[in-house]
């Protein structure tokens, strides 16, 4: 086999300019795919952080079964009692994969500064647990003012656009109104502790955060709407959903568990869009690579028709000719990929040193373009390029092998 590989390598560099153009096409395509993949890989990471930390979804959300469909109509029926809440938290935090399980409650209503009012959507959270869920995001987008505090029961955090509309700066007072679970209108005073950036234009004009106790008071209940679970490793999400669901149902708690992917406002849609863009780019590059390889191999076969006839006359079987050209195709893919790795590393390093800034749609501030270096993706794409080049070479290689020897020897 080595002798045929050696011969194939020499044949590749027989027509240096053509081979260089082919290798460049493969290399540029390889680098483009990998750079784009590196960018969306980082984007997926960012979206996950946005969902789990910024949106405060945690990794899993436990609701009473049926909450999703009927919880808005009969909220009290689909909430967890205080005893159930404590039991769920106990059973959940017993699992070694779980960092914390915390009760939350969502309130919607109207917030006013005494002059103007608008709608709000607020999460009632346990401040210390919420801080743990926010993790590094809290440093990335710190609260302007003070953070929620269990000691300050009427304190509230307010999203930056909502704060701006109502001029509710830290230290100022407002009033929130909402329906209790029994349908009575309730209103409570709040004092703005801090103003925060949700990270999203869609939520920055309506989100608020209260303490869990305050939210219960506003809704006049002792129940919890959900238990949010934070895991040590996000990759355990699906497995832990199954484990916890079985465990809680076995303990007599009729519940449903949804993951951060299902709950996130944007994760699945954005991922789906990025996946589609990646598929589109990948398809274009693959078509270019295949066409270039087919063209190069076709030209090589045409130029070497007499040589093919000679090799066949000397006793090389059809499959030998086919193998020779297939090896050449695969090697084009391999060398092109190596060129692609070099190009990719160069561009990656430039982006790392001089990151361009951009503002994604729906995101409140600009961010640096970050491209992850994913060695597994590089390796898989090398295999993919070699395989594709091999496939692209097979058809011309088979055509070469089928040539009539006399005609091939007489080819000028």
């Amino acid at each position: 086999m080595m002798k045929w590989i050696k011969l194939a390598v020499r044949n590749i560099f027989r027509n240096k300019r053509r081979s260089f153009v082919t290798l460049l096409a493969i290399g540029v395509g390889f680098a483009a795919i990998n750079l784009f993949y590196g960018w969306i890989h980082h984007s997926y990471y960012g979206l996950r952080v946005m969902a789990v930390q910024a949106e405060g979804l945690g990794h899993l959300r436990i609701n009473r079964a049926g909450w999703q469909e009927k919880g808005k109509l009969e909220p009290e029926k689909y909430m967890f009692s205080k005893e159930e809440t404590e039991k769920i938290i106990k059973l959940t935090t017993d699992e070694k994969e779980v960092i914390l399980a915390t009760p939350q409650i969502q309130v919607t209503g109207i917030v006013t500064n005494g002059v103007a009012s608008t709608i709000f959507i607020a999460q009632g959270v346990v401040p210390k647990d919420d801080k743990t869920i926010k993790g590094g995001w809290a440093n990335f987008r710190p609260v302007n003012g003070k953070e929620l505090d269990d000691q300050k029961k009427y304190g509230a955090e307010i999203a930056q656009d909502l704060a701006r509309y109502l001029n509710l700066t830290p230290g100022r007072d407002g009033v929130v109104m909402a329906s209790t679970l029994s349908g009575q209108m309730n209103a409570l005073d709040i004092q703005v502790m801090g103003v925060y950036d949700t990270g999203s234009d869609f939520s920055n004009d309506k989100f608020m955060r209260f303490t869990f106790d305050f939210a219960q008071s506003l809704l006049d209940t002792h129940s919890a709407e959900r238990i949010v679970v934070l895991l040590k490793d996000w990759q355990d999400t699906e497995r832990m959903r199954t484990t916890l669901l079985k465990k809680l149902q076995a303990a007599g708690i009729d519940c449903e568990i949804r993951t951060w992917k299902e709950l996130s406002l944007s994760y699945l849609k954005t991922k789906s869009m990025l996946d589609m863009m990646f598929s589109f780019l990948f398809t274009i590059v693959i078509v270019i690579v295949v066409m270039t390889t087919v063209n190069t191999m076709g030209m090589a076969i045409l130029e070497r028709t007499r040589e093919i006839g000679t090799l066949r006359a000397l006793g090389l079987k059809r499959r030998g000719v086919s193998l020779l050209f297939s090896i050449e195709g695969a090697l084009l893919g391999l060398f092109g990929s190596f060129m692609g790795v070099v190009l990719h590393l160069c561009v990656w390093a430039i982006i790392k040193i001089y990151p361009p800034q951009y503002t994604p749609p729906g995101i409140s501030t600009s961010m640096s373009l970050t491209v992850d270096l994913v060695p597994q993706a590089l390796f898989i794409l090398v295999l993919c390029m070699v395989g594709l080049s091999l496939l692209a070479a097979i058809i011309p290689a088979r055509r070469a092998a089928k040539q009539n020897i006399v005609d091939a020897l007489g080819h000028v």
């Binding site: 080595m2 002798k3 011969l7 020499r10 044949n11 027989r14 007499r306 040589e307 006839g309 000679t310 090799l311 066949r312 006359a313 000397l314 006793g315 090389l316 079987k317 059809r318 030998g320 020897i405 006399v406 020897l409």
Partner: protein, 228 residues
């Protein structure tokens, strides 16, 4: 038993709706160790005849046996093996692989056969020495003269120790002096190794150097079809 037995061989080519009768009833017997020249004017059927003998083409009708094998009954793979083991080729245009050195070109038939690189190298070096090219083994064809390339081609044809060497106009691209040297070299190897040589030519100056002449005209053997 004759090395080559041809009985009533015909070969027709279809050029559109026209049928070209390239060979019209050839009967030919060639024994082992013979040194045969097939000569005649252009278009007389010399190359077609050699193509059939070398099993790279098939007759339209007739019987053809080479070294006792009915070539027409062989599959494509069997024909490839037959050519590799039984027949050596010398081409008018030398047909050396340009990306390989002289040594690698000569090693090629052995490597196609599956010989180890070491064994192939040893035999190729020996054959290159026989044709007087020991000094040029690492040269690629582009860096050799026509005569040197044809000697590499002869070494390549003989490296597998074939029972038959077929040369189609081996001297056509060479000057007279080199042509005579190549024919003399072929004859020397024929006498030394007892390999059968069949070559086509229309160069009358070379005919006095061969043992047997087969003359062709219009797809027929007009002289020398049977041994004198």
């Amino acid at each position: 038993m004759a090395l080559i037995e041809m009985k009533n061989i015909t070969k027709d080519y279809h050029l559109g709706e026209t049928i070209v009768h390239a060979l019209r009833g050839i009967d030919l017997l060639i024994d082992k160790r013979e040194f045969v020249a097939i000569w005649g004017p252009s278009g007389s059927g010399k190359t077609t005849l050699l193509n059939l003998i070398s099993a790279i083409d098939e007759p339209t009708t007739g019987e053809l046996a080479i070294a006792g094998k009915d070539v027409r009954s062989l599959t494509d793979n069997q024909k490839s093996e037959h050519r590799n083991e039984t027949i050596g080729f010398i081409f008018q245009g030398f047909n050396l692989v340009p990306v390989l050195s002289a040594l690698e070109n000569v090693m090629l038939p052995l490597q196609i056969k599956g010989a180890s690189a070491g064994e192939a190298r040893k035999q190729a070096l020996s054959r290159l020495e026989e044709v007087g090219l020991s000094e040029l083994i690492y040269n690629r064809p582009a860096k050799m003269s026509g005569g040197q390339q044809q000697r590499v081609s002869i070494a390549r044809a003989l490296v597998n120790n074939p029972s038959l060497v077929i040369a189609d106009e081996p001297t056509a691209n060479l000057d007279s002096e080199t042509a005579r040297m190549i024919i003399d070299l072929m004859r020397e190897l024929n006498e030394k190794d007892h390999t059968t040589f069949i070559f086509s030519t229309h160069d009358q100056r070379l005919l006095d150097r061969v043992k047997r002449l087969v003359r062709m005209e219009d797809g027929k053997i007009v002289d020398g079809g049977t041994k004198q």
